[in-house]
C-alpha cells in the first residue's frame, strides 16, 4: 500500500521563538528525526503542511523555510485557535506531527530570468520569506533578475524575521523596502500602507512578476496599484488561505468554485482567480 496521507511524520520542536512584540506570532523550528523523513519531505516555496499538536489537533500552515535550508523546517504561526495556542505553549523538545508538503508552489521555473517584486503584509510573510531565501541561495540567485521585497506591518515590532531583514538590507542581491502604518520612534524607513508604498517604489512591470500575500484588504488595494504600473493578471501571483482539514482535496471545505485551495492551490495567479467565483 502506498503511504497513508493521514499519518504524520514525527518531528522535534527544537525552537519555539516569539517573533513579534504583541507576542501573538511564534516561529517553530522543527527538526527531521531521520534522513529518510527529510528525503520524503521534498518541498518548494509556497507549499504548506498540516502541523499536529497531539492532544489538540491539526492545522495547515505555510512553510516558512526554503528547501535550501536542510535538516529543519519552520512555521511562523499566529495564535488564533486551539492548535496554534497549544503550539505556542509547547516546550522545546516536544514531538509534533507533520503531514506534507501539500499544495502547489510559487512557479519558480516560470519566474526564471525575470525580476521579482515580493509584496507582503503582517504575518503573511512566511512563504514569501521561503521564496526570497530560495532565490538568494547561491545555486539559484543567477536564475533570477532583480529581487525587490516590499514588506509592511502595523508597527516595527510586528515585522517577522527582524535579524534576517537587517541582513537583507546590507545584501546587494536584494532590494528590501519595509514600511509601517504610522510613524514610530526610531523608525527612519517608509511609513504608509502597502498599496501607497508600492505606488511610491513603483517597480517596473517589464519582465517582472509580482507575488502578493497579506490581509485581504491589503491585497484588494494593492492590485489596482500594480495594474496601474502595468502588471497584467498573469504577472501577479498570490497565495490563499482557507479552512482546511484533510489537505488532500477530499474533505470538501476549502473550495473556490471547482478548485480546492489545498490541492489545486494555495498559489494562484490573478488570471486564474478571475476565472473563479469570488467566494474566498
Amino acid at each position: 500500500m502506498e503511504q497513508n496521507p493521514y499519518i504524520p511524520i514525527t518531528m522535534k520542536l527544537i525552537k519555539n521563538l516569539c517573533e513579534t512584540e504583541d507576542k501573538l506570532v511564534n516561529t517553530f523550528t522543527l527538526e527531521f528525526l531521520s534522513k529518510e523523513d527529510e528525503e520524503n519531505f521534498k518541498y518548494m516555496p509556497g507549499q504548506f503542511a498540516e502541523l499536529s499538536a497531539y492532544g489538540h489537533g491539526e492545522a495547515p500552515f505555510g512553510i516558512a523555510t526554503s528547501p535550501t535550508e536542510p535538516g529543519i523546517i519552520k512555521f511562523s504561526v499566529a495564535k488564533v485557535g486551539c492548535v496554534s495556542n497549544a503550539l505556542h505553549l509547547m516546550e522545546e523538545g516536544t514531538m509534533v506531527g507533520v503531514r506534507g508538503p501539500m499544495g502547489n508552489y510559487y512557479p519558480m521555473e516560470t519566474f526564471k530570468g525575470k525580476n521579482l517584486v515580493i509584496i507582503g503584509g503582517g504575518f503573511a510573510f512566511t512563504t514569501l520569506r521561503s521564496m526570497a531565501v530560495y532565490m538568494l541561495d547561491e545555486k539559484h540567485r543567477a536564475d533570477y533578475g532583480d529581487i525587490t521585497v516590499i514588506y509592511g506591518a502595523r508597527n516595527p515590532g510586528l515585522l517577522l524575521y527582524k535579524e534576517e531583514l537587517a541582513a537583507w538590507e546590507a545584501n546587494p542581491n536584494i532590494n528590501l523596502i519595509t514600511t509601517i502604518d504610522r510613524p514610530a520612534d526610531g523608525w527612519n524607513k517608509h511609513v504608509g500602507f502597502i498599496p501607497t508604498v508600492v505606488g511610491e517604489v513603483a517597480p517596473s512591470a517589464v519582465d517582472t512578476y509580482a507575488v502578493v500575500c497579506g490581509p485581504p484588504v491589503m491585497i484588494k488595494y494593492t492590485l489596482p496599484v500594480l495594474e496601474k504600473l502595468g502588471f497584467t493578471p498573469e504577472q501577479i501571483y498570490t497565495s490563499l488561505e482557507m479552512r482546511m482539514k484533510c489537505g488532500l482535496g477530499i474533505c470538501g471545505r476549502c473550495n473556490i468554485g471547482p478548485k480546492y485551495v489545498c490541492k489545486d492551490g494555495p498559489v494562484f495567479s490573478m488570471a486564474e482567480l478571475k476565472e473563479l467565483p469570488s467566494e474566498y
Binding site: 497513508n4 514525527t10 497531539y54 499566529a78 488564533v80 516536544t94 484533510c246 473550495n255
Partner: protein
C-alpha cells in the same frame, strides 16, 4: 439466470460465515443496513434505507490514528482495520453513489486508504426496486429502478426467486459458489421486462443544468432558495454522494485518537477561518455551494452529476426543501446579463 430464495438463502448463510455481510434490516420503524448472519434477518420489501450505505466505506465516525504521549515523546498508531465484506440489497441509486464517491476519495494526487481499503475488499450485491417512492427520481439521472451500474451482482426480486446476474469479475467469482441456478421461464422473463422498463414517476430535467449554473453564481435566484433552510445538514448526511468530513481529536489524559466524522456544507462553521473570516457565512452561499457542487463543480472535476435521485434529502428535510424544486428553479431562472 434465476435462483429460488430458499437456495439463495443457503448460499447467503454460507457466505455470512466467511464475509462480514451487511444487509437491510427493520430498525425502529425504518430500514437500516446492519451486519447479519442469516438471510432470514434481511428485510426484502422496502423502498429504501433511511441513511445511505456509504457509511461502510466512509463511517460517520472513524479513528484515523491513535497516539500516546509520554513526556515530550509521542507514539502514533495507524487505526485502519478492514474486513472482507458483502454489501447486500444495495439500491441502484446507492450503487451509483459508490461510483461517484470513488472519484472523490481518489483524485489526481491522493488516494484515501481508509475508504479504498474497505471499498476494494467489498462486493456489492444490488437489488432492483420493485416499488418506487414518490420522492425517487433516479430515472432523470441516467439510472433506473433496475439499473445494475455499480453492482458486482445484481438481483431482481421475482417473488419466490431472484433473477441473478454477475456484473463484474468479483461478482462472477462470488456467483460461482451459488448452487441451484436455473433458466428464467417465459413468465419470469415477462416480470423481469416489466421491472426493467419501470421509471420513476417523479422527474427533473438536468440536461442543461451544468452549463446554466456556469453563469449563475451571481444570480438573484440564490437570494430566496435558502430561506426556510435550518442549516441542519440532514440533506448531506442522508446523501449517498455527499462526502465532506471533519477531522478532530478525542483525548483522555495522555492518550487520544484523531477521528474523522461526517460534516456538511450547510453548517456555518464548516468554512470558518481561524481569523473569524468566513467565505460562506450566509445560508444563501451555502445553498449555492450545495447546488453548484452537485450539478456544476463535480461535473467539471469528475464528469458526472453528484446526485443519484434517491430522494433521501427530500424525505429527511425538516422544512420540506425539495431539491427537485431547486433544480426546476435553476432551469427557470433568468440569467442576469452583465
Amino acid at each position: 439466470m434465476k435462483i429460488s430464495k430458499e437456495k439463495f438463502g443457503q448460499s447467503f448463510d454460507a457466505l455470512a460465515a466467511e464475509y462480514q455481510v451487511i444487509a437491510p434490516v427493520s430498525d425502529a420503524g425504518s430500514v437500516s443496513f446492519k451486519a447479519v448472519k442469516k438471510f432470514s434477518e434481511v428485510k426484502q420489501d422496502y423502498l429504501n434505507s433511511k441513511l445511505p450505505p456509504k457509511s461502510f466505506f466512509f463511517p460517520q465516525h472513524e479513528k484515523l490514528l491513535s497516539y500516546k504521549k509520554e513526556g515530550k515523546e509521542v507514539t502514533v498508531k495507524n487505526e485502519l482495520k478492514v474486513e472482507k465484506t458483502i454489501l447486500f440489497g444495495i439500491r441502484p441509486c446507492d450503487a451509483k453513489g459508490f461510483l461517484l464517491l470513488d472519484k472523490v476519495f481518489k483524485n489526481d494526487q491522493y488516494t484515501d486508504p481508509y475508504y479504498f481499503e474497505r471499498r476494494d475488499n467489498t462486493i456489492i450485491v444490488g437489488v432492483a426496486c420493485n416499488k418506487i417512492a414518490p420522492t425517487c427520481f433516479c430515472s432523470s439521472l441516467g439510472l433506473s429502478p433496475a439499473s445494475s451500474v455499480g453492482s458486482d451482482i445484481f438481483l431482481i426480486d421475482l417473488g419466490d426467486s431472484y433473477q441473478i446476474e454477475a456484473i463484474s469479475d468479483n461478482g462472477k467469482f462470488l456467483l460461482g459458489g451459488f448452487e441451484g441456478l436455473e433458466e428464467l421461464s417465459n413468465e419470469d422473463q415477462t416480470l423481469v421486462d416489466t421491472i426493467q422498463s419501470a421509471e420513476t414517476t417523479s422527474k427533473v430535467d438536468v440536461s442543461t443544468i451544468t452549463a446554466k449554473l456556469d453563469k449563475m453564481f451571481d444570480s438573484p435566484y440564490w437570494d430566496t432558495l435558502h430561506e426556510k433552510c435550518l442549516s441542519c445538514n440532514a440533506c448531506s448526511f442522508s446523501c449517498p454522494t455527499c462526502h465532506c468530513f471533519d477531522i478532530s481529536e478525542e483525548v483522555l489524559k495522555n492518550e487520544g485518537s484523531r477521528v474523522r466524522t461526517w460534516d456538511g456544507c450547510m453548517a456555518p462553521l464548516f468554512t470558518l477561518h481561524g481569523s473569524g473570516h468566513n467565505p460562506r457565512d450566509q445560508k444563501k452561499s451555502r445553498w449555492r455551494q450545495r447546488m453548484l457542487h452537485k450539478f456544476n463543480y463535480f461535473v467539471h472535476n469528475n464528469g458526472d452529476i453528484a446526485c443519484v435521485g434517491c430522494g433521501r434529502c427530500i424525505k429527511n428535510c425538516p422544512v420540506n426543501l425539495d431539491i427537485r424544486q431547486a433544480i426546476d428553479g435553476v432551469n427557470k431562472a433568468e440569467l442576469v446579463v452583465d
